[in-house]
């Protein structure tokens, strides 16, 4: 099915761009499909064409630094297909995607999936109200749309992204009403034992401390160790209440940005039948690979945060390692070159992962968001509560796939992307089993809405029209 391509990369974030650029330097025909209209992924979104004045000062040098990566890719011979939304892959490495209202089909021996992460669901009562957005959404509004909140927002949750977002708003002279931190005291203690290893990433730690200092200096109220979070409002968000250090607080708010870390987007690895494993340290599933980033399915390579959450630096290193592995398979480099070039990268990656252990421990999601209270809406699409999931779990429901039949949970528009983690965790807790044992949602193509017309207008390849 579809035109044969030597190498296909899906996703134009740091991992995908790095791999595509490096492979194309060896005179290999690389096709990169990305659902956005400009390269950079979510982290470097719109970096080559920012609509914000002084992006380096406002958004930070880490963001604008991504432009070099994007430029190198655009200058490479890799074929770039923007606006391509991949809706299906399989273990034969056949790729189906939607572009310009029609479907296209490719087949390759070397499929590199670098599809990135999504926000980890952060369910609490009222999180479905209009006015509650993810911190990632607020960042995307800033980076790709040059839009900032009209009303002073409240930032709720944990993780470096919240601090970065607050800092970026301060740079724009915007007000942040409060930061409601859900990091629990014991998380700081657990993180401490990983601190020595994290010294390799001290620059990043220092940056985090600077954000904190600036936030304090700006006089933004910071509430620590928050729990019992609830969004208030009848039809839209009107406020938020929570307890912090034994005190109850209620704050008015029209905008709340929530964040609880990110998890890999695993739809495509699942469709390709790659084996997954549950990571207790990150409280989420990841896709298994060997040290050279090849999955358990031959010729399917997984890199970046779409495989396992390790951040942008590791994504780039993995992109390089994966590229070398593919080049070796294509006989563009020999074993000796491969060993020589990959060895320092593997060492570098291992060192970077030590920082990740520290961050994982510090910013581990609180249990209140893993197994939320009964009244909380777990499935935003089908509006299924945690109480319903607990009830069917007590009734003997074997896992998330059976939960669909009982409750329609996971069968709505998002196809389970925003409830899977919670449903599995709730069933596991209720039945005193592990999430690894409970399993995950099966997915089937198309993973994006597709009309029959869009499927029927299929062609084997549209790259010539670029």
């Amino acid at each position: 099915m579809g035109e044969k391509c030597p190498v296909v990369v899906v996703g134009a974030g740091p991992a995908g761009l790095t791999a595509a650029t490096l492979i194309s330097q060896y005179d290999v025909d690389v096709t990169l499909l990305d659902d956005q209209l400009s390269p950079g992924g979510q982290i470097y979104r719109q970096v080559s064409d920012s609509k914000i004045a002084n992006p380096e000062t406002v958004l930070g040098a880490d963001y604008t630094g991504g432009k070099a990566l994007v430029d190198r890719f655009l200058e490479s011979s890799a074929r770039y297909v923007p606006g391509a939304s991949v809706w299906g892959v399989n273990r034969k490495r056949e790729v189906s995607y939607l572009r310009n209202d029609a479907s296209f089909f490719l087949q390759t021996d070397h499929l590199i999936l670098s599809v990135g992460c999504q926000e980890r669901p952060m369910p609490f009562p009222g999180w479905q109200l209009p006015g509650v957005l993810t911190a990632g959404a607020a960042q995307i509004m800033l980076k790709s749309q040059a839009m900032a909140p009209e009303k002073a927002p409240i930032l709720v949750g944990s993780g470096p992204l919240l601090l970065l977002l607050a800092w970026q708003y301060l740079n724009l002279g915007l007000k942040v009403k409060a930061i409601v931190e859900t990091t629990q005291t014991q998380h700081y203690f657990h993180a401490l034992k990983h601190l020595p290893g994290a010294i390799v990433g001290r620059q990043q730690l220092v940056k985090g401390l600077k954000f904190l200092k600036d936030i304090r200096a700006a006089g933004i109220a910071v509430y620590k160790g928050a729990s019992e979070i609830r969004a208030l409002g009848d039809q839209v968000l009107e406020g938020i209440c929570f307890s912090s250090r034994g005190k109850q607080h209620t704050l008015n708010a029209e905008l709340v940005f929530i964040h609880q870390g990110v998890t890999p987007q695993l739809q495509l690895p699942k469709l390709a039948e790659c084996e997954l494993e549950y990571l207790v340290s990150q409280k989420c599933w990841s896709a298994k690979t060997d040290q050279f980033c090849e999955s358990t399915v031959e010729g399917v390579h997984l890199i970046g945060d779409g495989q396992q959450i390790n951040g942008a630096e590791v994504a780039e290193i993995s992109g390089q390692i994966c590229a070398l592995n593919v080049l070796k398979k294509l006989k563009r480099i020999d074993q000796e070159d491969f060993d020589r070039l990959s060895k320092p990268l593997l060492v570098k990656k291992k060192r970077q992962l030590k920082l990740r252990q520290f961050l994982d421990a510090l910013y581990t999601p609180s249990d209140i968001f893993i197994t939320p209270s009964d009244e909380t809406m777990v499935c935003r699409c089908e509006e299924v509560s945690a109480a319903t999931i607990r009830e069917i779990a007590r009734g003997g429901c074997q896992g998330p796939n059976q939960a669909k039949s009982f409750s329609r949970c996971g069968m709505g528009h998002c196809q389970g992307r925003f409830c899977e983690a919670t449903v599995s965790a709730l069933i596991a807790k209720e039945q005193d089993r592990s999430v690894a044992d409970i399993g995950f949602y099966r997915v089937r193509p198309p993973i994006r809405p597709l009309t029959l017309g869009q499927l029927g207008r299929g062609q084997s390849d549209d790259r010539e029209t670029n």
Partner: protein, 112 residues
């Protein structure tokens, strides 16, 4: 069924774009101008917090993740329902309509 929720909410975001080129499109029958390169969900957030009512309970819902994962920003675009607003750029003359409930996509003339 009340559609008051679709008009009662203020603008949530403001543009700080350096881009002076504007694109005009129709949002529930109202002509709206946004900077070129704005996506449909972001354009909705310049006007309101709400982009539809939900399939199950017909309550208000707004854009949530802005990266194509949550499907909360579904709108009807040029007559085709259930389009992801955050994944679609506003084009001149585009007609965007707020969806009510399951698949019904109707013009709501009093959209604020």
């Amino acid at each position: 069924m009340s559609y008051q929720i679709l008009v009662a909410v203020d603008s949530m975001f403001k543009s700080i774009s350096e881009c002076s080129e504007l694109v005009e499109f129709s949002l529930n029958g109202k002509l709206v101008q946004v900077p070129k390169g704005t996506n449909v969900a972001a354009a909705v957030l310049l006007e309101s917090a709400v982009c539809r009512t939900t399939v199950v309970s017909n309550t208000a819902r707004g854009p949530f993740c802005m990266m194509g994962v949550c499907f909360d920003c579904l709108v009807s675009i040029d007559g085709l329902a259930n389009q992801q607003g955050c994944q679609t750029l506003v084009e001149p003359g585009m007609e965007v309509i707020v969806q009510r409930g399951a698949v019904e996509a109707e013009r709501v003339d009093d959209y604020g």
